[in-house]
Symmetry: none
Amino acid sequence: MKTLGEQLKALRLGQETKKSQKEFGKLFDLSESTIGMYERNERKPDYETLQKFAEHFSVSIDYLITGKKSNAAQSDLSNDDKEMIEFFSNPKLNLFFKEMADSPEEQIEELREFWEIIKKRELNKK
Amino acid sequence: MKTLGEQLKALRLGQETKKSQKEFGKLFDLSESTIGMYERNERKPDYETLQKFAEHFSVSIDYLITGKKSNAAQSDLSNDDKEMIEFFSNPKLNLFFKEMADSPEEQIEELREFWEIIKKRELNKK
DNA sequence: CCACTAAGAATATCTTAGCCT
DNA sequence: AGGCTAAGATATTCTTAGTGG
């Protein structure tokens, strides 16, 4: 389980454009020193700042604090939703589904029929 | 969007056994006054306490702070992902999806190839 | 009993300036 | 430049004691 500091540092440097602590701080009206202290877990940002961080990186506050991927898992999503999230996290399939979501009903239906065939074929094997 | 204070108060009183601020505080080694201040948003709990609250009520920290139902929606998931969940909430497709999630990689790959064909065919129509 | 307020003590944070690599 | 440390100024929080419904 990663600390908030580790998360922040990873996010600051994990971008295409790695930022210095100073640059990073400017985004949130914080001094370079403050950022450093966050990363070393010597200080903690207030809630407002925390939310800004979360928003900027498009992650949840739970993720920032606890390092857990899906805080949703803990609370308000159904198991099915959780499975979906897990499933979608696979980059290949993710793209696949995005396409499907934008496609006409008939095509999806067609795909589903083909899927039936695949599954039946598997049954016959056994 | 509800405040942290409102959330806490609602959770404290929303249980089968409503608790007084004093009783509630005892659970987390906090004085009754402190709980009251939280609920009136005059003070904010530190991260540790916040996590205890979240754990005790089985909610996410994001939910406590922002009042948003799906913290996943807010952060972990992109808008596209949110659309997908919407998409698959269709019961028919939902079943389809569940099967896929439990199927071997090769079958999914096969399905994807068939999908490519469908899409190409559509292109030729135009 | 329950919740709220006040005030002081205790903690924690933010910045600037300086230091090191 | 980039990052870290120190120290004072600032700001916030927690508790106890007291007030009122």
